[in-house]
């Protein structure tokens, strides 16, 4: 039982780690958005797994996941719009180019 729980949890945490790593290392904003999605989804997996294995009697986790997905979608849409904006201005989507505001 626990084994199977871990079998779900460890990949999800790994996924989260990948997301973080991608966020910190990738230049392209689109790639960064993808890694953000990875992080959010790993969280969703957590919820689902906890719900399914630890508290099978109820559906909080599941519902949370549904909402989380919706929120993620909204975030992506917004982020994409802004990235396009940036692209219009600078003709690239390199996150290390947007350094005008600092110090």
């Amino acid at each position: 039982m626990n084994l199977t729980l871990l079998m779900y949890l460890i990949p999800s945490l790994f996924m989260f780690g990948c997301g973080v790593y991608g966020f910190i290392t990738r230049k392209n904003m689109i790639a960064i958005m993808i890694s953000l999605e990875l992080m959010l989804n790993s969280v969703d997996i957590n919820f689902v797994v906890f719900n399914r294995y630890l508290f099978p009697g109820q559906l909080d986790g599941m519902f949370f996941t549904l909402f989380a997905i919706a929120i993620a979608a909204a975030e992506t849409a917004l982020a994409l719009a802004i990235v396009i904006n940036i692209f219009r201005a600078t003709k690239n989507v390199d996150i290390q180019q947007i350094l005008k505001l600092k110090f």
Binding site: I24, I95, L101, K102
Partner: protein, 664 residues
């Protein structure tokens, strides 16, 4: 209340000061001068009234069973430190106070009168600052009178400060001249240093005896100095000691230092010669007759305490004797007549101090230390006579200076023909101070020598020698001024006797100097108010007169006619001569200590420390903040990824550290 009108003696000068000081600028100079003289005249009359009533009047409660009482006229609270320790400002009359009233008022009046002429140019127009001058004179008179009638130690201290300030103002009267400026500063600061010790002395004494009041310190139930009271006052210290000496001895020594500062005892004498920068009448009033004897007066006030604390008394004795000789030696070579007179003043005051000091030990003091207190009487007597003839001498000097516009005696020579009255007055003064009978000085100085011989042969001999030197240097000055060689006239008009305003005081004082010796001092100003039986001790008197004559003859030989003897003597002992001429380099020593040690060695480093270390520290804090804020700006690098990275590290560190702290 008997003698309650004494208040007028204090009040009138104070009023004159305020009035002349505030309204003076609006009035003409002459008017202020006249008003000042009038005011002083009134004061003098009242003061004589008071003193004579005290001495000879009856039914004023001042003589009880043959003893002259100290009469406290009134004594209101001024400043209460605690319920018991209260500073009062009052008026106390006892023999010496009454005598000082006479001295101060006489001399002051003379000087007021004299200044009318002295402070004017040859056409009799008063010079600039005339109002200020008379205001300050009034202020000084007020302070001095307040000092002599003080009812308690603290009041004396208060008026010590006041006379100090008025002397400061008067020395610096010609405030444009740097020399006067410097002299006034010096006078004030040196006496202030002495007053610091005076203050400490009062602190200690009042802490242990719990009072400032003479009535509880020295005056007995019968209102005169009383050994028993002094004993109990000392005893109330409970034998407390500090560094081996009893605290009261410390206190009295400190108090003496305070007096020594005012009375220019060695080594605190250095301010007095410079003080001659002031107008000469001022020197006559303050630095010859009145203020400089405040120290003697102070010691005399606490006489019984000193008698008990013999240690302090010994110090006074040694300092006094040494100063007498030291100053006399310097006086022998000074060329500036005012400075020469100043040193003779120092020497004479030292006489009084010594005489006070020796008096406790003369004979075998009968009651406790017993004795007749001859020296005490002599000292007060000499104070009186000296005030008269030294004022006379100074006023003469002033007349001469006013005539020839110089202090140097080589500008004078042979003035006898031009200024006969002045010359005679000066001669009388010299005879008086040299101690030639029947002039005033003889009587008082003779008593002093007797008292000194009572203490011991050495002391007597020493003082007699100084007396001889006195005769010598006084007549040296006299001959150099009035004879030596013919006076060559190089000013546009020849020197002559001065107007009556200046001559009259000379005549009066000369007369006084002749007769003052016959005042029955042994009846009036004895230490315990009893009549004191004295008879002239011919051995002492004769010897002293002989010595004086020798001195005079020597001076005559050397200085009456122009010759090269003095020159040769000078060359013979040139080193000694130069040292004496430069007052044995005391001023240079002080200069070194104040400028090099204190200013360069303490003040400047402290100021630097303040600006650079302490202030620097606070500025450093500010700069540190600034540089810290500059150092951390890299965090705000502008790159989202680094932001997120720091974010993540922060969150994980938060978790990790807490885990380590909580779980392990």
């Amino acid at each position: 209340m008997p003698l309650s009108y004494t208040i007028a003696v204090i009040a009138i000068p104070l009023f004159m000061f305020l009035f002349l000081g505030l309204a003076g600028v609006k009035m003409s100079r002459k008017l202020t001068g006249v008003l000042g003289v009038l005011g002083m005249a009134v004061t003098t009359v009242i003061a004589y009234g008071v003193a004579l009533t005290y001495f000879f009047g009856t039914g004023q409660g001042q003589i009880a069973d043959g003893v002259r009482q100290a009469v406290t006229v009134f004594n209101p609270d001024w400043l209460s430190f605690t319920d018991t320790l209260v500073v009062r400002m009052g008026i106390l009359l006892d023999p010496i106070a009454a005598m000082m009233l006479i001295v101060v008022c006489t001399v002051s009046f003379m000087v007021h009168l004299y200044s009318l002429g002295y402070m004017s140019d040859h056409d009799g127009n008063p010079e600039e600052g005339f109002q200020r001058y008379y205001a300050f004179l009034a202020l000084f008179t007020f302070s001095m009178l307040g000092l002599v009638v003080a009812t308690n130690l603290f009041q004396i201290f208060v008026f010590f400060e006041m006379v100090g300030v008025s002397s400061y103002l008067l020395i610096g009267f010609y405030y444009s001249s740097p020399a006067a400026n410097h002299a006034s500063k010096k006078a004030f600061i040196v006496t202030r240093l002495a007053d610091l010790f005076f203050l400490l002395g009062i602190m200690i004494l009042s802490y242990y005896t719990g009072t400032f009041d003479f009535n509880q310190l020295v005056f007995g139930s019968n209102g005169a100095n009383d050994m028993a009271v002094a004993q109990s006052a000392i005893a109330s210290a409970g034998g407390a000691t500090f560094l081996g000496c009893s605290v009261t001895a410390w206190a009295l020594t400190f108090i003496f230092i305070g007096g020594a500062g005012k009375s220019a005892m060695y080594p605190l004498h250095i301010w007095l010669p410079d003080a001659m920068e002031g107008p000469t009448p001022v020197s006559a009033l303050i630095h010859a007759a009145t203020m400089v004897v405040a120290g003697v007066f102070l010691v005399a006030r606490l006489f019984p305490l000193y008698v008990i604390e013999q240690g302090a008394m010994e110090i006074i004795c040694v300092v006094g004797a040494f100063t007498a000789f030291y100053a006399a030696a310097i006086a022998c070579v000074q060329s500036d007549i005012k400075r020469a007179l100043a040193f003779s003043t120092i020497s004479q005051i030292a006489f009084m101090m010594t005489s006070l000091a020796v008096s406790s030990a003369d004979g075998a003091l009968i009651e406790i230390h017993g004795g007749t207190g001859l020296g005490y009487m002599a000292s007060m007597f000499h104070l009186f006579t000296h005030a008269m003839f030294k004022a006379l001498l100074f006023l003469c000097a002033g007349a001469i200076i006013h005539a020839v516009h110089s202090n140097e005696n080589d500008k004078m020579h042979g003035l006898h023909k031009f200024m006969p009255i002045t010359s005679i007055a000066f001669l009388i003064g010299c005879l008086a101070i040299a101690g030639i009978p029947p002039f005033a000085g003889f009587w008082s100085k003779d008593e002093i020598l007797v008292a000194a011989y009572h203490k011991g042969f050495f002391w007597g001999l020493w003082m007699s020698m100084v007396a001889g030197m006195t005769a010598f240097y006084m007549f040296r000055i006299y001959f150099l001024i009035f004879f030596w060689k013919k006076h060559e006239v190089h000013t546009h008009h020849a020197p002559k006797d001065q107007p009556w305003t200046m001559t009259l005081p000379l005549i009066i004082l000369a007369a006084v100097s002749v007769v003052a010796g016959f005042v029955p001092a042994h009846d009036l100003v004895t230490w315990n108010g009893h009549h004191l039986h004295t008879q002239l001790d011919w051995t002492v008197a004769g010897s002293s007169v002989a010595i004086a004559l020798v001195g005079i003859l020597l001076a005559y030989k050397l200085y009456f006619k122009e010759n090269d003897l003095p020159e040769r003597m000078k060359n013979a002992a040139s080193g000694l001569w130069t040292a004496a001429y430069h007052r044995f380099y005391m001023d240079e020593l002080y200069q070194f200590i104040t400028h090099k040690v204190i200013f360069q060695g303490i003040c400047v480093p402290i100021a630097w420390f303040d600006r650079h270390i302490i202030d620097g520290f606070f500025n450093m804090l500010a700069n540190a903040t600034g540089s810290a804020s500059f150092a951390i700006r890299r965090l705000q690098s502008g790159s989202v990824q680094s932001y997120v990275y720091i974010y993540l590290v922060g969150a994980l560190a938060l978790a990790a550290v807490t885990m380590v702290c909580v779980l392990i």
